[in-house]
């Protein structure tokens, strides 16, 4: 006897219901149980690969400068202007002074523009699995991200069978990513592919969400876009030593139109380069005193990535909107718990 699966699609622009309706929805509950297994699978994989989990900071004098379009949240900290974390990137780099391989499962807040409230893809408050490895190259980090995501999928396919069935998610749709390595294409190749699809995409800029969706729809497993041009990202993304203007970074894009899951790459870590890149990206070095003080005496070279927990949950559970993967979804401009 097969049960009729729950409806996981949402209308274009559909907003979450009230708190009671959202929390008592079997879709929300199944999504959160799957999310719990995503976190458990991540911890299992990273734990067996020698990673230390760190407790996330919540506020600090500065935070991730690389969140274009989104505003940071200011707080008054005993008369000092502090920020709520948009990501723990600066703390990840510093933490490698204590341990070689670390991760955070951290809550972040980004005040996204109001017009993104109805995209089904934006949350103001979200959670990120933030991983960093000292002395790692981008290629090693691509392998790690692929290995981690595959382990998560294996874990969820094993432990969340009933919930996937409840949500009508075909296990084969995600099992596909266990079969072959994820494709790695350069930003330039992605731009060419998009132009072939008659999508307007500049060769010097970030690939927009619509473009990501277009490429993403043509594949049955996630893939990496590497080598973004310098102007498209913040100062923490490391620039190639041999190809000036090319960043040693990547995005991990889900298949079937689900879009970006993770971003990362090698980091800028040398004091002199950090100052240069801050100036190039319009950041004031004086704001980053604690971080630059560490860099002056030496930060470690590293690479890493941040994986969006709600986005991965949406992808694996096959949900229509990312807010279905958060117990208390906060959408841009909308006052809610």
């Amino acid at each position: 006897m097969t049960q009729t699966p729950l409806t996981t699609t949402v209308q274009v622009g559909q907003l979450p219901p009230g708190t009671r309706e959202h929390l008592t929805s079997p879709v929300t509950q199944a999504a959160l149980r799957i999310q719990n297994n995503i976190a458990a699978g991540s911890r299992e994989y990273l734990g067996t690969h020698g990673f230390m989990e760190m407790m996330p900071p919540l506020i600090g004098p500065v935070t991730d400068p690389g969140c274009r379009g989104a505003k940071q949240v200011d707080v008054d900290y005993y008369g000092h202007k502090y920020k709520v974390m948009t990501s723990v990137i600066l703390y990840k780099q510093a933490s490698l002074l204590a341990f070689d391989k670390i991760f955070y499962l951290a809550p972040n807040v980004r005040l996204e523009p109001m017009e993104t409230a109805t995209t089904g893809r934006h949350l103001v408050e979200f959670h990120q699995l933030d991983v960093e490895v000292a002395d790692a190259s981008r290629e090693e980090i691509l392998d790690l991200a692929q290995g981690l995501l595959r382990h998560i999928v294996t874990y969820v396919l094993r432990e969340s069978k009933a919930d996937l069935a409840l949500l009508g998610r075909d296990p084969d749709a995600i099992a596909a990513l266990l079969r072959e390595p994820f494709e790695r294409m350069t930003h330039q190749a992605a731009v060419t592919r998009l132009q072939d699809l008659r999508h307007v995409q500049s060769a010097d800029a970030e690939i927009d969400w619509e473009g990501e969706r277009l490429i993403s729809e043509q594949t049955d497993r996630p893939f990496f876009i590497v080598d973004y041009p310098k102007g498209s990202r913040g100062f923490t993304d490391g620039e190639s030593a041999t190809e000036p203007g090319v960043l040693r970074n990547f995005d991990l894009i889900a298949s079937d139109g689900f879009g970006e899951l993770a971003s990362g790459g090698e980091r800028t870590y040398e004091y002199r380069r950090l100052i240069e890149r801050m100036r190039e990206t319009g950041e004031n070095p004086a704001k980053y005193a604690w971080y630059l003080d560490l860099a002056k005496e030496g930060l470690r070279p590293s690479a890493g990535f941040g994986l969006g927990v709600e986005r991965v949950t949406r992808y694996l559970a096959g949900l229509g909107a990312v807010w279905q993967a958060n117990a208390y979804p906060k959408l841009p401009g909308i006052a809610s718990p």
Copy 2:
């Protein structure tokens, strides 16, 4: 060949060193490794007891009202005045609409008074294991808190042997708590005991830290103080139906002078009682609209507790100050990452 243990004592009023020195200190590193095992042991225990882990919120329209002496951090959320979480208590109660047993491992910020910067016991930013069970009585929650702490200790004694040795922490000092159940004394009995020790303690008030330390020094394992008087706590602590003025709550106090580890109890959950208790404690019900809306249609009766992660780490690792158990310690009034 035995290694000389590291020094874990700190001077009275000693502040943390700079970020590099703190992160490269073998004491910090050992403390954080032990903390990692405390988190892993907690997840193992709660996972096998049917708990769902939830991803913590970071900001919201209101937060825990029960943090006397400490100020909340305001943020501007698209023109609405929001708060950074001082604890996730309100979200814990709401989350029981989705699951019967839940926990959060959540970062919190409380702007403690400046004069507490040198106590060695206060952190502005800290982490809390926040547990809640629907339809549970205080007595069931005392058993759960005891079972959890004992499991954490068993886990740490097994997995952190080398680090305990490195820090010169005698395993027997914490193994003592595995032998007998934790004593349960009423607030009234604690007051009498303190008065016998010639400590000035009012029968109607919170037991001050010095008092906690005094009682705590006379035992070799943690103990519970239950039944605090109503005036001493916020509106979320449930009042006894049979003994008006007595709260169905508890504190868990560590042995050997380490002081409070956890606080909890049964919750106020009925709409009418919440309004009454808000008024009694000087809180404006209008601020709590989303939470009271849920209560009006019905919150579930529950009990739970919050366990301070840095405090438990300090206790098990035998550290002189709580800031030794945090990678980026923020002390009251002091600007630091």
